[in-house]
C-alpha cells in the first residue's frame, strides 16, 4: 500500500517537472518490400530539439524514456522481432497490370491469356480487392466505335475475372476509347500496344 502511494506521488512530481520522463518511441525506415527502395523519414521530438532525417535501411530514431534522442540502426532481425506481427498485417500493395487485345476484338492475345493467370494469382491472395478495369483502343476507326470497343474489352475482362471467382461487386469497368494512347500515334493507325486493358488493384 505504501509503495503504491509513493508511486502516485512520484508520478505527480514528474508530471509537473520540465524534465519529465517521456513515452519511449522508435521510428525505423524499412526497405520497400516491393522493390527494395529505401525511403526517408524526418523525426522531431515534441519537447523541441532538432529534426533528424533517417534515410538508410533499418536506420532508426529512438526517443528514450529519459527524453534522450538517439539516431541508431537496427538489424533486419531486430525489426522482425519487434514488428513481425504488425508488418504481417500490412495489406498487399496497389498494383497495375496491362493485358493486350486482338485488333478490333474483345479477345486477349495469346501472350496476355497466359499473363491473365498471373494477374489472377495475385488477385486471389487479396481479401476484398478493389479492382478497376479500364479498356483502351488504338486509333483505327471513329470515336464512338472505339468507345464501345474499349468498354467491351473492359467488360469482357471483368467477366473473365468473375468467371475465375472474383466477386463481381469488387470490379468496376470503364472504357476510355482512343483517348488515352499508351503509344501516341496519328489517327487510323493500327498499334498493338494501344489495344489494351489496364487492371488496377488495391
Amino acid at each position: 500500500m505504501v509503495r503504491y502511494l509513493w508511486l502516485f506521488a512520484a508520478a505527480l512530481v514528474a508530471a509537473g517537472c520540465a524534465c519529465a520522463p517521456v513515452t519511449p518511441a522508435l521510428f525505423v525506415v524499412v526497405p520497400d518490400a516491393a522493390d527494395g527502395h529505401i525511403g526517408k523519414i524526418v523525426v522531431k521530438p515534441n519537447g523541441g530539439g532538432e529534426e533528424r532525417v533517417i534515410n538508410t535501411a533499418y536506420g532508426a530514431e529512438r526517443v528514450r524514456g529519459d527524453g534522450r534522442v538517439e539516431t541508431t540502426r537496427l538489424s533486419e532481425g531486430e525489426v522482425k522481432a519487434i514488428f513481425g506481427p504488425t508488418m504481417d498485417a500490412l495489406p498487399g500493395r496497389a498494383m497495375s497490370y496491362t493485358l493486350y487485345f486482338l485488333e478490333g476484338k474483345d479477345e486477349l492475345t495469346d501472350t496476355s491469356k497466359v499473363e491473365l493467370d498471373k494477374v489472377f494469382a495475385d488477385l486471389k491472395h487479396r481479401p476484398l480487392p478493389d479492382i478497376v478495369v479500364i479498356g483502351h483502343t488504338d486509333t483505327v476507326g471513329g470515336l464512338e466505335y472505339n468507345d464501345r470497343l474499349s468498354r467491351a474489352r473492359a467488360d469482357r475482362l471483368r467477366e473473365m475475372l468473375v468467371g475465375l471467382g472474383i466477386p463481381a461487386d469488387r470490379i468496376q469497368a470503364a472504357g476510355r476509347g482512343k483517348r488515352e494512347l499508351l503509344v501516341p500515334t496519328e489517327d487510323n493507325i493500327s498499334e498493338p500496344r494501344n489495344r489494351r486493358v489496364e487492371i488496377n488493384v488495391r
Partner: protein, 147 residues
Amino acid sequence: MRKILILLAALGFAGSALASDIGLVKVAKGAVQIQRGTAKIPATVGTGLQQADVVITGADGSAGITFTDNSLVSVGPNSVFAIDKYRFDTTTHAGEFEGNLKQGRLAAVSGKMVKQSPDSMKIRTPSAIMGVRGTEFVVQVDETKKN
C-alpha cells in the same frame, strides 16, 4: 425521414462501405475495434474507415488498412491509432494524412499524396512527430518499457 435516419445509422454501425470512407479494413486478426465518436464498432474485413476514427487492437489483435490514396497502414497488437486528419483529392493527388499512434506498433507504406507532396503525411506519437518522405517505415510507442 425518421426511417431514413435510422437506416443510415444502422449502415454506419454495420461498417458498410460509404462514400465518406477514407479507407477500408483489409486484414483483421484477433480483437480489433474502431472507435467512432462514442461508439465502438468491431472491425472486420470490409469495415470502412472515416476521418477521426480510432483503431484499437487487443493483445491478439492486428489490422491492415488501405487508404484511398493507396497508402497502407497496419496496426499491431495492443495498439491505439487515431486518424486525426485525412483528405485526398483523386484529381490533383493533393492531400493531408495525420495519424496519431498513442500506443503500440504501426507499419506503413506511403501512397500517392506523399509522392505528390512529401510534406503531406505525418505520424504523431506522445514524444515525437514523424514526417514521411517516402515508402515503408515502422513506428513503436512503448507505454510500459522505460529505457
